[in-house]
């Protein structure tokens, strides 16, 4: 057999595989890989978004991202939001999951009621809570009717930050809860029976059986919450529009407003690259640090 005919046969054998993976790879490269490389390239320029007028500025944008007070404030608030949101969502999610994991109509109604906001767009949820918490909003109207002073939910920086965190947790803990319920259901019933025979109480059972067995679900929930809350944007836009006095701006909020409103795409790109690295590192770190806890389940 000649070399060319052999090559031809190899190609014929490979062609279907290439045809089947090719389109997906092409789209992925065009919309993920190329943009990622471009993001890094753009982060080294002072591009304003128009034309091809790039000026190479080295790592200046990165220094700015770490030194400009606004960028730092956004980074700090994003970190607080991600950490507090993750803790609250998981505490609430796990606690409520333990209460309503059983069967029965009331449990299933409760699950639906706690979960439904997850299905609604974050933008709409922000607008809804803004209508409830605004100075003229529903809650302050009720407060006024009781004869108290209005509460500056959205006009005081600290209150506004709390309002953003509350809204994120409100709309999201149901998702964590559903995952925890799925996890609780996967714990074999025999373990509990054995523990009951041994005379272990509810609390002891939760500590010694339920919680360790949930380790993989805990990991998934922590990673998803942390990574998800690092890119909160829609809720902030519709709830506080980043205010008052830029106090509730998150990193993604900054990236998008700097890039598309102020035309500082290079700076926005640098913040994007930083966020990307932080997300990947945190996701990986949580996954790896939870290995030990998960291994115990496998045994």
């Amino acid at each position: 057999m000649t070399d060319t005919s052999r090559a031809l046969i190899t190609w014929k054998r490979r062609l279907p595989g290439l045809l089947m993976t090719g389109p997906a790879v092409l789209v992925f490269v065009a919309m993920f890989v190329v943009p990622m490389i471009l993001a890094f390239v753009l982060s080294l320029t002072d591009w304003n978004g128009y034309g091809l007028d790039f000026g190479f500025v080295g790592f200046e944008n990165y220094f700015d991202a770490f030194s400009s007070p606004r960028a730092l404030d956004a980074a700090i608030f994003t970190a607080v939001l991600a950490v507090v949101g993750t803790v609250l969502c998981n505490a609430l999610g796990l606690g409520l999951a333990a209460l309503i994991s059983g069967s029965g109509a009331i449990n299933s109604v409760a699950r639906t009621v706690f979960f439904y906001p997850y299905i609604i767009s974050a933008l709409v949820i922000g607008f809804l809570w803004s209508a409830l918490l605004a100075p003229q909003g529903v809650v302050n109207n009720l407060v006024a009717q009781v004869g108290m002073d209005p509460i500056p939910f959205l006009t005081d920086p600290t209150f506004a930050k709390c309002a953003v965190i509350f809204t994120v947790v409100w709309s999201h803990f149901g998702f964590n809860m559903i995952l925890y319920i799925a996890g609780l259901k996967s714990v074999p019933a025999e373990y509990y029976e054995a523990a009951t025979v041994d005379g272990a109480g509810r609390a002891a059972q939760f500590r010694n059986i339920t919680f360790p067995m949930l380790a993989p679900v805990v990991t998934v929930n922590l990673v998803l919450s942390l990574v998800g809350f690092l890119k909160v944007y829609d809720v902030v836009l519709s709830l506080t529009a980043g205010g008052p006095a830029a106090s509730t701006q998150t990193i993604v909020f900054q990236i998008l407003s700097e890039s598309f409103i102020n035309g500082k795409l290079g700076f926005g790109a640098a913040q994007s690259v930083i966020l990307l690295v932080v997300t990947a590192v945190l996701g990986l770190a949580v996954t790896l640090s939870r290995r030990g806890a998960e291994k115990k389940v496998a045994e």
Binding site: Y116, I119, A122, F127, A182, V220, V252
Partner: protein
Amino acid sequence: MTTTESITTTLEEGPDEVTLNTAAIRARPLRKRRRSKIRTPLAGRIAKWLVLAVVAVVMLVPLYVMIISAFKPQADILQNPLGFSPDSFTLEYLMNAVTSEKFNVIGAYGITLLFVLLVNVFCILLSAPAAYVIARGRRKWHMALLLVFVSGLFIPGQVTLIPVVFVLRMLGLIGTIPGFVLFETALTLPITIFLFTAYLRSVPRDIDEAAALDGAGKIRAFWSCIFPIMKPVVATIVVLNSISVWNDFVNPQVILGPSSGIYTVTTGVYAAVGQYATDYTTVFPTLLLAVTPAIIFFIVMQRYIIGGLVAGATKG
């Protein structure tokens, strides 16, 4: 955790709870008595119901306020936020929202639904064959390909948005429906290929071999023999995609842009509500219109949605 097991139990739970027959109800006290041997003190049970009631109120009051306020004039919304009197009931503001020039609701439903449909179709057309090749492949590059796709899970879509705009502009697709659908489809690839590959690895190779013996090529064998078996995982992906495309705001806002005149439900809500946030006779009816399809979808598809999210999350 045995993921698939727990998903199926979560899924299977649904209908049983809804169709409680009398036998099940009669059987319940028995089960309760047996469980109460592990002693649930009355105080504990009261505390449990109290907690559930408080959380339920916090979850439901916003929805309740949104619904009733959509049918009230501004003064009534302000003075009587939680109450509802038939005297002030009006459909006027809801009709205003439906016919608003700022935000064509019916048009937005249509266009968003079209996007949901297109993204689902393209996502499955692209991902399913690729996942099949990866799942069946034994070479290193198959594994590498899977890793590349899955790494996309750690890339927040918003982060690549700026350069994506640049790429789409070069392709001449910025501000167009094909450009938006292309990016949105790309965002679905990582999780879809991951789930499809995991599923296909559990499909026996015998089917491939049988198809090959009958003379079917690889592509033909996939679409006519393997793909029909993928129904459950395709359903999961359709649910996940539909929710994320329907709720997406940043991508349509940036890629389609206000100048294109193409509004999805979310960008339409933003255009209609964004600047008029204190005119509650606009806010509440618009929000109600935006939320209704999602809530109906949720009620109808509840078990698939929850099952899909659990599958997507625990495998991803």
